[in-house]
């Protein structure tokens, strides 16, 4: 049975979604548990694979049994679990599982009678994201990309009103990204003749200097950037995440962009070798500048926001700058930092949006001014929120500290000081925002004990939302504590061997 684990990761949510689409017409209440079970199976398989990969190295699985044939390479589609993606697979399925538990009450409140296909689409989005992460075939990745994209357009459009336009803009940008990616795949395919990632990476060094391969590389990167909302393509993200239902955002924000970053890492590290970047310093420094601009601009815009959801969306944008920049430093600490940060940021963003979801559930909306007294009203939620913000700022021992430490180390080693400055500035801005929220939440109401006001009644979010939120916030600290173990046993082995230590 162990050899089937990689495909089970995909089949769990896929079949869960299809069955949920059936039961939606007979027993609508069954949709949620079905999707939950599917994701639980997927998470169990992913977790088991982390240990298998740590012990025995990469696991490969050929769909339909079509593996390598003499003289032709792999003729079928391969899915791979190796040191680069195993942690992300576990993180994606785990976060999705917790989010499923968490969204139940939110969906009942926000979507009420319109939720017929919500969980099916939710589960299909996770299928797409897991597929992008696990696949070992560059064309198959495109198909998974579209699965994730189409379901996320629908999940955003559930927000109605302004969400329709936001979803439409996302659709245009997302399709543009997918098309550029596909065209890039075409260029690579034209030169190598195969789509399998392992085979392509074996052929590319033999071809030497090739303009077509370079153009393909740039196209694939542009496609991935459009999907992850990196600097020049970021326009669609804040509105999409702000106007989508909170339940959709809680799943989309932590996972969708991170998986695109992973796709970029996979192309950079495995398909093309990292030498490709080291040997084109002009492109490298251009991308590093773009990352710094992304971080600084997103931080600046997050200061001007009054809506908590939009503010958090700008955090997502600045974190993308961290990861792209870290990857393009193309040295050991930089790449390690990017790889750790993909997982860490998925967890941090998830915790952040879960806490925001709890606040929205109780307060009805999330303008900063509405937060008056929220620390008295929802102390547990706000404690989780503060821990999450601390992780985003990079306070030890949370996971945010370690990934940021690697990134700064990498930037210092490469001598890219503007990136170091951008990282520190972004932490500073997040600290300012945290203190502003604390000020509004604690101090802008008369303290009950002093002025004899009636005490503000405690009114936490329901337990089904509160428990995942707190679990996620505690997970951030736990993840921080095991970071060094993970780096030593798994991530360090995912780094390309060519890198100088």
């Amino acid at each position: 049975m162990t050899e089937h684990l990689p495909i089970i990761i995909i089949l769990g949510p896929l079949l869960g979604a299809v069955l949920a689409a059936f039961t939606a017409w007979f027993r609508p209440k069954l949709s949620h548990p079905l999707v939950f079970v599917g994701l639980a199976i997927s998470f169990a398989a992913a977790l088991k694979l982390v240990f298998i990969v740590a012990d025995a190295g990469a696991q490969k699985y050929w769909l339909g049994g079509w593996g390598t044939k003499q003289g032709h390479g792999v003729v079928g589609i391969q899915i791979t679990v190796d040191h680069l993606n195993t942690l992300l697979l576990a993180a994606v399925s785990g976060i999705a599982l917790l989010t499923t538990l968490y969204t139940k009450r939110l969906v009942d409140a926000e979507l009420a009678r319109r939720q017929r296909y919500f969980y099916a689409l939710f589960s299909l989005l996770v299928t797409g994201l897991l597929g992008i992460t696990i696949t070992g075939d560059i064309f198959n990745l495109y198909v998974f990309m579209e699965i994730a994209a189409l379901s996320s357009y629908a999940l955003i459009a559930y927000g109605r009103g302004r969400a329709y336009m936001a979803a439409f803009n996302y659709l245009i940008m997302g399709t543009m990204g997918a098309c550029l990616y596909l065209l890039g795949v075409g260029f690579v395919f034209a030169k190598t003749g195969t789509l399998n990632i392992d085979d392509v990476s074996a052929i590319i060094p033999e071809l030497g200097q090739s303009q077509a391969l370079f153009v393909g590389f740039v196209l694939i990167l542009l496609g991935a950037w459009a999907k992850m909302a990196f600097f020049p393509f970021h326009g669609w993200l804040p509105n999409s995440y702000a106007y989508a239902p909170t339940a959709s955002t809680a799943l989309l924000a932590p996972l969708a962009t991170k998986v695109s970053v992973y796709a970029m890492l996979r192309i950079m590290v495995t398909v093309y070798s990292i030498d490709y970047i080291i040997h084109s310093p002009a492109t490298q420094s251009l991308v590093l500048y773009l990352s710094s601009i992304a971080i600084v601009a997103a931080s600046f815009f997050s200061l001007t926001q009054t809506n908590l959801k939009k503010l958090a969306a700008y955090f997502v944008l600045s974190e993308i700058g961290y990861m792209v920049g870290g990857a393009w430093l193309a040295n050991k600490p930089g790449l390690t930092g990017a790889m750790v940060h993909v997982v860490a940021d998925a967890a941090m963003t998830s915790a952040l949006f879960m806490a925001i979801g709890c606040i929205v559930y109780r307060l009805g909306q999330a303008q900063l001014d509405d937060l008056k007294g929220v620390f008295f009203k929802m102390p547990v939620t706000m404690a989780a929120f503060v821990v999450t913000m601390a992780a985003l700022i990079g306070v030890p021992p949370t996971c945010g500290f370690f990934s940021k430490w690697y990134l700064i180390q990498g930037a210092a080693q490469a001598g890219v000081w503007h990136f170091v400055a951008a990282l520190l500035l972004s932490s500073l801005v997040k600290a300012i925002i945290l203190f502003r929220i604390i000020e509004i939440g604690y101090n802008r109401v008369p303290h009950p004990a002093i002025e004899g006001n009636p005490a503000i009644p405690r009114n936490e979010a329901p337990l089904s939302m509160l428990i995942p939120t707190v679990a996620m916030a505690l997970g951030l600290i736990a993840l921080g504590l095991v970071t060094s173990t993970l780096v030593n046993t798994i991530i360090s082995k995912a780094l390309p061997a060519a890198l100088t230590p």
Partner: protein
């Protein structure tokens, strides 16, 4: 120049891609954006089919009636099936995206009675 004529298909692909991309980004009308998107996609499909084309090749169906030396076919005489399968997938993905785009556009029209992006944004600011 010689290259340009030998690879005329590629040139057309690039032109279609430019038309489609320009229309997706610069046009203000939502339906036109959708059509531009579809043109971009067909351009990519043309690219894939072109790289899999062979001179004097037959369609990839091996039958005794065709001069395929069945069942031991001559590869050079049969068009590349792989690029075709990939593009079948791309066509279907394209129509799926187009459908979702049109559904969203229709919903937007109901709110703003316009397909014009600027008008919609003005309406939203009110």
């Amino acid at each position: 120049m010689e290259n340009l004529i030998a690879n005329f298909n590629y040139v057309i692909v690039v032109i279609l891609m430019m038309i489609g991309l320009w229309s997706m980004l610069a046009q203000k009308n939502l339906i036109k954006k959708c059509i531009g998107m579809a043109i971009f996609q067909t351009g990519i499909i043309l690219f894939f089919i072109s790289i899999g084309a062979k001179d004097n090749a037959l369609i990839p169906i091996l039958t005794e009636a065709a001069n395929h030396t069945y069942p031991d076919p001559d590869i050079a005489k049969i068009a590349n099936p792989l690029t075709q399968i990939l593009m079948l997938t791309a066509i279907v993905v394209g129509v799926a995206t187009l459908g979702v785009g049109l559904a969203l556009a229709q919903k937007i029209y109901q709110q703003h009675s316009s397909f014009d992006e600027d008008e919609i944004l003005e309406n939203q600011r009110k």
